[in-house]
């Protein structure tokens, strides 16, 4: 029987819940494979050997994450980046706009609801320099994007990985699946999500909401826009090597000069690179900046 293992690195375990949500299909899968390591399904602490397909949820934040990842890669034939954190860094990779010291100081000493005390450190792994998608550190064989990934892609990739055949992810953007009406002219204003709710049969971007559907990979059926929520890019860029935000930022800055006046990379990156900052063009510059500083 083929052997599957899953791990959770820096994550909210959402992808594992998605796995659990496969419900009967998970049971079918469990009949045909041996699930050797999976936090939500069995009590196994050690990383097993001879794994056929390993699923990694979460990005690398600590040296412990790194250790698990390396061991898993060594012990597995096939490695799958499971979910947007593993694929692109995920929401937590927005931390990379700041540095570890600032981060720890803020989290443990400066938030409104924290009463200051010593920074926790006993028996805790160290934070690595920056949050990294796992593909930067080890070779990955498949990826399942999304926060959380789609059921059919989870099943599809696992079965393709078990058979050793390729799995093609959609190459279009979310707009291809979106049913909203497009009239062909962008609003000159940028609106917050709660402002001016009207004519919601129309394309949200055209109405002025920051919908990043144009630079997000399709596959979800444009679910959020169908509920009138602007896409926030959870499935990452269309091509894993592309940047999800710079183009949109650029062209929207043209259309809405006024509202972008208070532009700050820290606030607006959240809008355009919410799930993929760690794999963006700006990140590549920042990380090179940091390494160079170390050398100097």
């Amino acid at each position: 029987m083929k052997r599957i293992a899953t791990v959770s690195l820096m994550s909210d375990a959402g992808c594992h819940i998605a796995l659990a949500n496969l419900e009967e299909k998970l049971l079918e899968l469990a009949e045909n494979v041996e699930i050797t390591h999976c936090q939500i399904l069995r009590d196994e602490k050690k990383i097993p050997k001879n794994i056929d397909v390993a699923l990694v949820e979460g990005a690398v934040r600590t040296d412990h994450d790194l250790e698990i990842l390396s061991k898993l890669r060594d012990n597995s034939k096939t490695l799958v980046a499971f979910g947007s954190c593993a694929c692109f860094g995920g929401v937590p990779s927005l931390c990379n706009l700041t540095n570890i010291n600032e981060l720890i100081t803020y989290v443990y000493h400066q938030t409104a609801t924290t009463s200051s005390g010593p920074t926790p450190s006993k028996n805790l792994p160290l934070l690595v320099e920056r949050v990294r998608p796992i593909g930067e550190l080890v070779r990955i064989d498949y990826m399942i994007p999304g926060c959380i990934p789609e059921e059919k892609e989870i099943l599809g990739v696992i079965s393709a990985a078990l058979e050793g055949v390729p799995f093609e992810l959609p190459r279009e953007n979310v707009c291809e699946e979106c049913q909203k009406e497009r009239k062909g002219s962008l609003s000159k204003d940028i609106k917050r999500n709660y402002e001016n709710l009207s004519d919601l049969s129309r394309c949200l971007l055209e109405l002025g909401y920051l919908c990043v559907g144009p630079s997000t990979r399709a596959g979800c059926g444009a679910r959020c826009p169908s509920f009138n929520i602007p896409c926030d890019g959870c499935r990452g860029p269309i091509d894993a090597r592309w940047d999800q935000g710079v183009s949109m930022l650029d062209s929207l800055a043209a259309v809405a000069k006024e509202r972008m006046r208070g532009f700050s990379l820290k606030t607006h990156s959240a809008m355009f690179h919410r799930y993929s900052f760690a794999s963006s063009a700006l990140q590549r510059l920042i990380s090179n900046l940091d390494t160079r500083k170390e050398e100097m």
């Binding site: 940047d243 710079v246 800055a253 532009f263 990379l265 700006l282 510059l285 920042i286 090179n288």
Partner: protein, 141 residues
């Protein structure tokens, strides 16, 4: 670490085909002197230059990036591509400042094909400025 005095900046200059590239040609024809550090990348119009192209230049090790286009107020051969480029460069400079690279390593200049002096003056001044700033903290990939 190389000696600061030996530092030779790598400068990428995105030059629009009609004006800046022509001005650079004319500078060569007139045998005007300018630093060899300047390497030209031809584009049809500065309006074609994307933020990603500029970011890629820094990623690949450019110490400074120039975007050179036609004169403002109607000089652009594609009407106003240069104005779009200017807006883009201004926005990108802020991003570069925010990430710690500073906003002095990216600059846009305007000239006509008949202004070799302007080309020479702009690239020379910029290169010397970068020389003083030192190597880009990004270095090479």
């Amino acid at each position: 670490m190389s000696n600061a005095n030996d530092f030779e900046p790598s400068i990428v200059a995105f030059c629009c085909w009609w004006c800046a590239y022509g001005a650079a040609d004319l500078a060569g024809i007139s045998k005007l002197d300018y630093p060899t550090n300047v390497r030209i990348v031809r584009v049809p119009c500065t309006g074609r230059v994307d933020a990603l192209h500029i970011l890629r230049a820094f990623e690949e090790g450019a110490d400074g990036v120039i975007v050179a286009g036609c004169l403002k107020d109607g000089g652009c051969h594609y009407v106003d591509g240069n104005m779009k480029a200017e807006r883009r460069v201004t926005g990108l400079k802020r991003s570069l400042e925010a990430i710690g690279l500073g906003d002095q390593r990216l600059e846009m200049y305007f000239m006509s094909a008949g202004m070799p002096d302007k080309f020479v003056q702009s690239v020379t001044q910029f290169t010397e400025g970068i020389r003083k700033l030192g190597p880009s903290p990004i270095g090479r990939k």
